[in-house]
Subunit: 470 residues, 2 copies
């Protein structure tokens, strides 16, 4: 290594040169394949000797950041563009409690692990018998259902059913307004790919569903938050942030908000749409919990009529997270472009196997009864869970009209992140508030899935974890 011969000052100058080059590469002033400034010229511009630059370039080449080309100089190597890593830590255990933490812990957990932090219902709450019947009918079904890609907009049968449901919501929509996707998340992902460029500003609620943040990070969007109250976003703050930041998109849930369980009030919805129109912000309304409502609430797509609002949804929370299928309802010209994007990135629409299972279940008439039963069980589970949490000094911010989430405040001064870390070591996955919060202002909160709060062990581990974290 050449550095042995340099003085302290010389060593620093070499590092300065290296830092300058690294900075240009990181800022993309120098892109992969670009030729670096010649040694002589860079030495002059940085006020150092050419040998200092030679040493710096050699060390960067040894790291693989740049490569020498004989007789031609140095070039930024392809490896200089790092892959799009969304999370930092090496091993699952060492991972920070970030928007991926709850997903990874919940999705990959052992069956013995209790998951009150997860965002879906346990298997025994789902219509397993009806699903099996639907699958058997699939096995008997005719044609090329089991072998063929399916049309680019997805199963016509399922689309007809969904158009009917949109009509019931007061949304006039024809076939040109609707497409199916492989999942609800992929629906949102397609919309983001269609409308966003890296660096664009996107507004989300604070708190919001943690995977919105993970997804927007994958799109290299600039994320800003608006505080979410019991009636929807804080409307004065919403109007202000729209005027100040001019976000390209605002992503939210109507009906039952995730994680708070709140319902959008009509007046807030109306002002929200006007502010969006004034600032040319497109709204994505994620409908995924809407069927948990006891009766329909004000919905943005209904007020707006699919001109500025895009509605997305799926049945993974109410029917099956296995036979997955999502949908997008939007302006027909956007749907055209989104279908092309889906062909390019997924070749074809959603799995016909999944869509037909869902169409079978929705057409059967059993879906209404199933949802009534689910809502009944959940009313009771929310009340019982709230009582049991109360004994631990944990209070829900509000009692939701529907759904399975309780957004709760921990006792004064307690931080939910160390509580969650302590609990996961004992086989219980919790959802600490800050994974939902762009501003990281929800340390004192936690989201509980009441359908996973039946086991007494959840409460004993929670209590112990709270003591450890105090």
């Amino acid at each position: 290594m050449r550095i042995q011969a340099t003085t302290e000052a010389g060593g620093n100058r070499t590092l300065d040169v290296m830092t300058a080059i690294r900075g240009r590469i990181a800022g993309r002033a120098l892109a992969p394949g670009d030729r670096l400034p010649s040694i002589r010229r860079f030495a002059a511009s940085m006020g150092v000797s050419p040998s200092t630059v030679v040493e710096a370039y050699d060390r960067l080449a040894a790291e693989g950041l740049i490569r020498p080309q004989r007789g031609s100089g140095f070039y930024v190597s392809n490896a200089a563009t790092p892959p799009l890593k969304l999370a930092e830590a090496e091993t699952p255990k060492a991972r920070a409690v970030d928007p991926f933490w709850v997903s990874r812990q919940s999705l990959d957990a052992d069956e013995a692990v209790l998951k009150p932090g997860c965002g879906w219902l346990p298997a025994d709450w789902m219509p397993d018998e009806a699903l099996r019947r639907a699958v058997r009918s699939l096995a008997r079904g005719g044609g090329d259902l089991l072998t063929y890609y399916g049309s680019t907009r997805g199963s016509p049968a399922l689309r007809r059913l969904l158009l009917g449901r949109l009509g019931e919501d007061g949304i006039e929509a024809g076939p040109g307004h609707l497409m199916l996707t492989s999942t609800g998340t992929q629906a949102l992902d397609l919309v983001c790919r269609f409308l966003l460029r890296p660096g664009d500003t996107v507004l989300v609620d604070d708190p919001c569903y943690f995977n919105f943040q993970a997804l927007l990070k994958a799109h290299q969007a600039r994320i800003v938050g608006v505080p979410y109250s019991v009636h929807g976003p804080d409307i004065a703050a919403f109007e202000a942030v729209l005027a100040a930041e001019r976000p390209r998109l605002y992503i939210t849930n109507s009906a039952i908000h995730n994680p708070t369980g709140a319902t959008l009030a009509p007046q807030v919805a109306h002002r929200l749409l006007n502010a969006a129109a004034e600032n040319d912000t497109i709204i994505v309304e994620d409908d995924i919990f809407a069927d948990f409502e006891p009766e329909p609430s004000t919905r943005l797509a209904a007020l707006d009529g699919l001109s500025r609002v895009i509605r997305i949804g799926s049945f993974s929370k109410t029917l099956s997270a296995s036979a997955r299928c999502g949908y997008i309802a939007a302006r027909p010209d956007w749907i055209e472009g989104l279908v092309d994007l889906q062909i390019a990135t997924n070749f074809g629409g959603p799995s016909p196997v999944s869509s037909e299972i869902l169409a079978h279940m929705l057409a059967g008439g059993g879906y209404r009864k199933h949802m009534e039963e689910l809502r009944r069980r959940l009313v009771r589970a929310r009340r019982e869970t709230a009582d049991r949490l109360h004994r631990l000094g944990i209070e829900p911010v509000l009692l939701p009209r529907g759904g399975f989430n309780l957004w709760c405040r921990l006792p004064e001064g307690m931080d939910s992140t160390p509580v969650a870390q302590a609990a996961v070591a004992e086989g219980v996955v919790l959802a600490p508030g800050n994974v939902f919060s762009v501003s990281q202002g929800a340390a004192g909160f936690m989201r509980f899935n009441v359908a996973h709060m039946i086991e007494p062990r959840v409460y004993s581990v929670l209590e112990a974890a709270m003591k450890r974290a105090s």
Copy 2:
């Protein structure tokens, strides 16, 4: 309209100002939300009167490209960032014959439409009975298979089977090297999202699978092509383009190339890998037609051992395009990052319903027999189709060792695009050469799917279309 009062020269100056602003917005020197230069300042810099700038700004505002903010000036509106439209035409009929043309025509076609241009086997060639048995066993299966998301890397059973197959190919791989995805196309899409930034250069074969181009367009990649010969890419051209363009990625099929049917020769594979190592290019080897080979050929992932090569694949060509499931085999650190990206953009792995159907079919032992039968049928179909095409003056460039495609040369001077356009009007979807070619140098070629070339009507429509196009 103010323009009536301006002279010809004045009118041109207004347009100059408008063009200058449009150019800055298109080049992102001015981004949505940015404030435009003040009227006085811009007038001075362009050497025009302030009233000319006022008129230009007003006209741009009327178009919606910019918006006035009272007391504050003009701002670039959000609508100025156009959505990511991958295709231009308004109506399906008016669409250009581009990489989306064949997809759209084939995927959405009526059952009566004949599709020798499509890239999959007809339903009656697929293992329908075995699929029904697999679906019935799914209906009987235990646990939460029908309701639960499934782990983030996908079905353990299917992954074990795939690891075994990788081992048979001579690729040492452990669980850390493999993940499942919702489809083969989505596998490639994830890799692109992980490794590419807009503007990065990607190398593809010329000709190549048309959806590679559509996908890369969605990623805003700069696409370059390397001529593909009967033994793989023209290796001298490959080495030259790698040194000249330093592409980040090279995407190809080994085994049976799409569309040519060629097989990579060992010497070409070896030199290709060395050139890639020298220029730091990552290789994606799409394995989707590998099981059509009569015996295994040289494979890049086997020579390289998953350090620079990423292997992707799926079973949509051999088992089911309905129960779709893809996979990625790569370095473990890349797989970690890709799993996170899949969680963010699709929340969870592929549909457990689909993966279990495939695992059931692969484990049953019937897959080997099914592929032997398929290969036998295809040998015959390729020979018969080549004979019948010969009578029309159409000759395959080579007779492939396996697979269902014949890449053929039309009679001298004939352009396959108008032939395809004439044929689609008669209910036959063909695949004209230029949808496969980055350089648009394949006008005299066409890809025929021999399994869809049984009907005599295909040949009569083809013959008539060729006459019309002469």
